[in-house]
């Protein structure tokens, strides 16, 4: 076990992947000498050379499309998208090629591409640097979508993603890059599979499902609620495609209540899927309608407004009160639409 930051744990995971399999190549903007704008690829080019760790021309479609070609040739490319908001120029190559090539060829062509995306807000950045585009990809058949919330998962999951024979979108919670924790670099048979959710804290009254940057926030909420006599079970979803609904279902059948949270806009976000699927699976167990605590249906606001936009402890606890049938901010609120 070594103490690492979340970003450092991904760096070490990438190092393992590069060392373990010489078909693994990294491709992205500024990932070489600079080590990436978040230093997640720090020193990797120095260690593995400019062929294994390639600075790419400034074009996301180019990066993803080139990775598809490398995959055709048997490589396992790991692409870095510099910030969430810059993934869209590569969207076509991801949705029409990366996601569909395996199905198109009925498995003849494997597409073991990993796309790393630092995502989410809370770092006071300018436009396009704080977005949460994961729902687009979770809605896209053929992709796997995962997100980590702590250094150990960051390390394990990046290695699992690269080892996976399917394309994986790996969403890295950028505001948690500096979060520290103990990391074991041994992956064994008992390592949690990439597609599994994790019960991060057990509880009996409310299930609180989160992923990526909001898992620490959810843990804080659970601690605060405990003071108030409410027992929250926190589930770190970890995988957004597939979603490990059996773990969520088990929890909700126990608690009867669900709050789901993410930074992305509410409409059509992951929370909608979680709420809908849990309702399908647990209708008879539910004491209240699942509640969503999410970013608003607005573009990501300027930094001075991001606190209003981002789900936080208070908004989570307000929703917990709501599903618990306690007085909350919507008590007495009248819908106008």
């Amino acid at each position: 076990m070594t103490q690492m930051t979340l970003g450092g744990a991904i760096n070490s995971g990438l190092r393992h992947a590069l060392a373990d399999d010489d078909k693994v190549v990294l491709l992205g903007e500024d990932i070489g000498k600079l080590g990436g704008v978040f230093r997640v690829t720090d020193k990797l080019q120095e260690e593995f050379g400019p062929r294994r760790v390639m600075d790419a021309p400034l074009a996301e479609a180019g990066i993803i499309g080139t990775a598809v070609g490398l995959a055709f040739r048997g490589y396992r490319p790991v692409c870095e998208i510099q910030f969430d908001g810059f993934i869209y120029p590569g969207f076509d190559q991801i949705v029409a090629q990366v996601a569909k090539l395996h199905y198109r060829t009925r498995g003849k062509v494997k597409v073991p591409i990993t796309i790393r995306v630092p995502f989410g807000g809370g770092i006071g950045a300018v436009e396009h640097h704080s977005e949460s585009p994961e729902a687009y990809f979770a809605h896209t058949a053929g992709l796997r979508v995962i997100s980590c919330s702590n250094p150990q998962d960051a390390h394990t999951m990046i290695r699992q993603a690269i080892a996976c024979d399917d394309p994986v979108l790996f969403f890295e919670p950028k505001r948690r890059y500096w979060l520290k924790g103990e990391v074991s670099e041994e992956l064994g048979a008992d390592t949690l599979p990439m597609g599994s959710a994790r019960v991060a804290r057990e509880g009996t009254d409310v299930t609180l499902a989160a992923y990526g940057p909001l898992v620490p926030t959810a843990m804080d909420a659970a601690a605060a609620a405990a003071d108030d006599g409410i027992s929250i079970e926190v589930i770190d979803l970890r995988s957004l495609s597939p979603i490990d609904f059996s773990t969520v279902e088990k929890s909700v059948r126990k608690t009867g209540r669900l709050v789901v949270t993410h930074e992305a806009a509410q409409s059509g976000g992951i929370g909608a899927e979680v709420a809908a699927a849990v309702t399908e699976r647990c209708f008879d167990w539910l004491e209240a309608a699942p509640a969503r605590v999410t970013g608003f249906d607005t573009p990501y606001p300027p930094a001075a407004l991001e606190e209003a936009f981002l789900p936080d402890l208070d908004r989570l606890l307000d929703a917990v009160d709501r599903v618990m049938g306690r007085r909350n901010s919507l008590t007495g609120w009248k819908a106008t639409a």
Binding site: V25, G32, G49, P50, R51, M54, D55, A56, P57, A59, A61, G62, I64, G65, T66, A67, V68, G69, L70, A71, F72, R73, G74, Y75, P77, P89, D92, Q93, A96, Q97, K100, H102, Y103, R104, T105, R106, G107, K108, V109, K110, P112, A141, G142, R144, C164, D165, D166, G195, S241, P242, I243, D244, F245, S246
Partner: protein, 420 residues
């Protein structure tokens, strides 16, 4: 030393260790390229167009083009290109002729199958036989093709099974063949996307230390797409052994090439640091020579090359299209005179190589292929097991999809056993 050289240092070092033979070969092709490059320079003088002239000089015109066989079948000389096809015997020319006749027959037969309801759609390549055969036959089996939907002639040169060729058009598969079996990716429907795949594949060849080459086929319309331009950026930056093969057939569905470009399409690549050639795409020999030059450059570490093969789409865009709405009537007449098959036929005739026997053999072969293809077509299932809808989405199990599959199986089962 510049940063580029620094970055690619070991890359170049490996290159420098190329065998003396390869270096020799390279010297040859560099001489060739000077010929080509200066041709390209000539084109850059058509600047006037961008100045707003309405002269009839556009990306569809045939001036300044490499041609080895004239429309009348006579052999044109080209000191830059001739050496690259000097080894092509009359017998081999006959083979190329046969290929072209056969794929024209394939095209006709597939169109007929579509009319008869056996295929849902077909994208004819009529008129583009020389561009596809001349380039396809220049490839080695270990090269890899990334194409669009119209390259059935290229697929033929890769030895594709006829049933596999038709699956997509019959609606029973999203892609018909195993790319690794024939060294050809399944066609890209998203215009231009495959050019980046070719670039990445080519880079992989370099990494693997092999001299296989990737070739990307795309149309004149495709050159407007960001992907195609990014592919040139990446190929140039990484010096990937890739050949960009643009069939300028003058149309993107109903849009004339002049809407996509005001200059020769081949003029674009040099700005990206990629030498280009502009060849008569209806001249199978010129196309073959150009492709060989490009392949040789790529194999010997010379990086990407761009070929514009100027041809004409004589048919509709697909069997669903109605070109009468947009195509000037006299175009067909004009381009009919430049037909790729008849011009090679005339050359062969003039050399006494197209005897009655040969003609018969060629036609028999075409008939046989057509029969084989039709048989393969109707033998393909038209209806598939509904559960196949779930096959091959992922390589590893995906719990969400497994659940849907299991539920759908239950749904289908609920129809069995009659009224419930």
């Amino acid at each position: 030393m510049g940063y580029r050289a620094y970055r690619l240092k070991d890359f170049w070092q490996r290159r420098r260790m190329l065998s003396a033979a390869a270096i020799q070969a390279r010297a040859v092709h560099e001489r060739e390229l000077r010929v080509i490059v200066s041709t390209t320079h000539e084109h850059t003088r058509t600047e006037t167009l961008a100045e707003g002239s309405d002269q009839d000089m556009g990306p569809g015109q045939l001036e300044d083009i490499v041609q080895l066989i004239r429309p009348d079948g006579s052999r044109a000389e080209s000191p830059g290109f001739d050496p690259w096809v000097a080894d092509v015997t009359d017998d081999q020319l006959v083979d190329l002729y046969e290929d072209m006749v056969v794929i024209r027959r394939i095209d006709t037969e597939a169109t007929a199958l579509q009319r008869q309801g056996e295929l849902a759609l077909w994208a004819p390549l009529l008129g583009q036989e020389a561009a596809q055969i001349g380039s396809g036959r220049a490839l080695r089996t270990d090269d890899f093709v990334f194409s669009s939907y119209r390259e059935n002639g290229v697929a033929y040169t890769r030895g594709v099974d006829f049933g596999d060729m038709l699956k997509v058009w019959r609606g029973i598969a999203s892609a018909g063949w195993d790319p690794y079996a024939i060294g050809m990716a399944t066609p890209a429907v998203i215009i231009g996307a495959q050019t980046l795949h070719a670039t990445g594949y080519a880079l992989g060849c370099t990494y693997d230390g092999v001299d296989s080459v990737a070739i990307a086929y795309f149309g004149d319309g495709a050159t407007s797409q960001g992907d195609v331009n990014e592919a040139m950026v990446f190929a140039s930056s990484f010096q990937a052994p890739v050949v960009f093969f643009c069939q300028n057939n003058q149309w993107a569905i109903s849009e004339p090439v002049g809407l996509q470009a005001h200059r020769h399409i081949s003029d674009r690549a040099p700005g990206f640091g990629i030498p280009s050639m502009r060849v008569d795409g209806n001249d199978v020999l010129a196309v073959m020579a150009a492709t060989r030059i490009a392949l040789d450059r790529a194999r010997s570490g010379g990086g990407p090359t761009f070929i514009e093969a100027v041809t004409y789409r004589m048919g509709p865009h697909t069997t669903s299209d109605d070109p009468k709405r947009y195509r000037p009537a006299d175009d067909l007449e004009e381009w009919g005179r430049k037909d790729p098959i008849s011009r090679l036929g005339r050359l062969l005739e003039s050399r006494g190589a197209l005897t009655g026997d040969v003609t018969k053999r060629v036609n028999d072969k075409a008939d046989a292929v057509a029969r084989e293809m039709r048989a393969a077509c109707v033998a393909l299932d038209k209806e598939l097991d509904p559960m196949m809808v779930f096959d091959g989405v992922y390589e590893e199990p995906h719990s969400g999809l497994e659940r849907q599959k299991s539920q759908y199986a239950a749904y289908l089962a609920s129809f069995e056993g009659g009224e419930q």
